[in-house]
């Protein structure tokens, strides 16, 4: 039982950590992009 | 015909340069010998090490090969000679074959010098009657190593990490060659304890594997090399 739990736990942990990483990174990148777009807009005007 | 001539000119150039400095050959040779000595210290010299010796032989050859392969494109890259080669050869694959053949030659020379030393150190039974099979195994292994090694060396010379990159890229790719070469070398070294029938059936399997992977590696190198060197 312990092995079973450990295997499922480990596998999902890895996958969800990865999903979490991607979502987090995407959010951060989205923020950066918005920021830069604003900077460009300000520069142009 | 012209194609072949160009490859040979390139090989000849590499040999002349290597004979002048001997840096690649010397370092490979010393490295192989050092590995063998270190192996002896690390594992002792009991009867159990004999079964490991075919593995030792190939591991030391493989790492020596990395040492040499790292140097293959250093001279070409440093003074921009690769550009010069691109300008004067009709085809990128001329450069690939020239480089692969010269690293094959240097590796083979180092191995053939190291082989007697290895025999003296680690082999108890004479395998002289089957030596020619071992030579074939060595050569087939070298073809694979230098075919894929030359390609990966050209890749790694283009990275920031340069020579740190080659082992990381090279070792996992060469595994099939390593497995087949170690198995067949082990068979040759212990041919007397394996029955003749079994020896031949098994050695054929392993040699076939070597040949198949050699062909694949050469083909892939030939087809993709131009994408590595172009800019």
């Amino acid at each position: 039982m312990a092995y079973f739990a450990a295997a499922y736990f480990a596998a999902w942990l890895i996958l969800f950590l990865y999903v979490f990483y991607i979502e987090r990174k995407l959010a951060l990148l989205g923020r950066d992009l918005e920021h830069l777009k604003n900077v460009v807009k300000r520069k142009k005007s | 015909m012209n194609y072949l001539r160009h490859v040979l000119i390139l090989v000849q150039k590499d040999i002349v340069a290597e004979l002048r400095t001997k840096e690649m050959l010397n370092s490979m040779l010393l490295f192989v010998l050092l590995t063998m000595v270190m192996f002896n210290f690390a594992f002792g010299s009991g009867p159990e090490t004999e079964t490991l010796s075919s593995g030792l032989l190939w591991i030391s050859f493989l790492f020596a090969a990395i040492l040499g392969l790292n140097r293959v494109f250093v001279h070409e890259k440093d003074e921009g000679c690769l550009d010069g080669l691109m300008l004067c050869s009709m085809d990128c694959s001329v450069i690939y074959f020239g480089k692969a053949i010269s690293s094959f030659l240097f590796l083979s020379v180092a191995e053939l010098i190291a082989l007697p030393v290895f025999t003296v150190f680690f082999v108890r039974e004479s395998f002289l009657s089957h030596l020619w099979i071992l030579i074939i195994v060595l050569m087939l292994g070298n073809v694979g190593i230098s075919a894929v090694g030359t390609l990966l060396s050209a890749i790694s010379i283009n990275t920031k990490a340069r020579d740190l990159m080659l082992p990381v890229l090279f070792l996992p790719v060469i595994v099939p060659i390593l497995v087949a070469a170690v198995k067949s070398t082990g068979l040759v070294l212990s041919f007397s304890s394996v029955g003749t029938q079994q020896f031949w059936t098994e050695i054929v399997i392993w040699l076939r594997t070597l040949v198949i992977y050699d062909i694949i590696f050469v083909l892939v190198g030939f087809l993709t090399f131009e994408y590595v060197v172009e800019e």
């Binding site: - | 012209n2 160009h6 000119i9 390139l10 150039k13 002349v16 340069a17 002048r20 400095t21 001279h75 440093d78 003074e79 921009g80 000679c81 550009d83 010069g84 080669l85 691109m86 300008l87 004067c88 050869s89 009709m90 085809d91 172009e230 800019e231």
Partner: protein
């Protein structure tokens, strides 16, 4: 411009390094027998342009023909016709002067190679070091040998990238002589430099590469040094 003599034709050439546009919609025509000098500030893309012309570098868009042949489609044809003297020496430091030239000569299928090598070594005044390893040469000598290497296969077109950098006065004079000979021999030469004065000496055609474009191109009736200096600084300022 007389169309018949058109040798190299560059049409809206663009080259991007990653995201950076090094060359942008660049147009340039070079006629047979021209000596074109391209000047420009550092990082303007002079070296890149020469590397593209000599098929060593790819480009993002545009079209280049040499003698009417598209260089992307048939690079081998172009490579036989050109000699390149680049920043890099393209020499093997562990081979001696003679071996270097012999290697390249054989790769280019040069006939009467031995005579050619002796002749060229004499020309660049390296006769006495024929069998010395290139590693032992001074920078200027290596550069001279590199010149010999570039001329080995009698190329019709010669690209020179900053040929005078690293040359002492004497070696510079040797190079001057060679360039004059080549000009008389109806070779087409393209030279880049950031030394405007040196650039105007031989040229019959000058161009300024700035802001990833050819900002100025004049063939025959060249401006004198002061005028050209003025033009040059205008070009550079406009693009900044």
């Amino acid at each position: 411009m007389p169309e018949v003599n058109l040798l190299i034709c560059v049409d809206s050439l663009s080259k991007r390094f990653g995201r950076r546009k090094v060359l942008n919609e660049l147009n340039l025509n070079i006629c047979k027998g021209d000596f074109l000098t391209i000047v420009g500030p550092n990082g303007a893309g002079k070296t890149t342009l020469l590397r593209i012309l000599s098929t060593l570098s790819g480009f993002s868009s545009g079209c280049i023909t040499i003698n009417g042949v598209d260089i992307k489609e048939n690079p081998a044809f172009v490579r036989k016709k050109i000699g390149l003297l680049s920043h890099n020496l393209l020499l093997y430091k562990d081979l001696n002067a003679y071996e270097n030239l012999r290697f390249y000569g054989k790769m280019y299928n040069v006939s009467l190679l031995e005579d050619k090598i002796s002749e060229l070594l004499e020309k660049v005044e390296l006769d006495h070091r024929k069998f010395d390893v290139v590693r032992t040469f001074s920078r200027g000598m290596q550069q001279r040998l590199s010149i010999a290497r570039a001329l080995l296969h009698d190329p019709e077109i010669i690209f020179l990238d900053e040929p005078f950098s690293g040359l002492d006065v004497h070696a510079g004079r040797i190079l001057d002589g060679i360039l004059e000979d080549l000009k008389k021999g109806c070779h087409t030469l393209v030279m880049t430099t950031h030394d405007i004065k040196k650039g105007l000496v031989h040229a019959n055609s000058v161009a300024v590469l700035s802001g990833s474009k050819i900002a100025y191109h004049q063939r025959e009736n060249l401006p004198d040094l002061d005028d050209f200096n003025q033009i040059y600084s205008d070009c550079v300022r406009n693009k900044r």
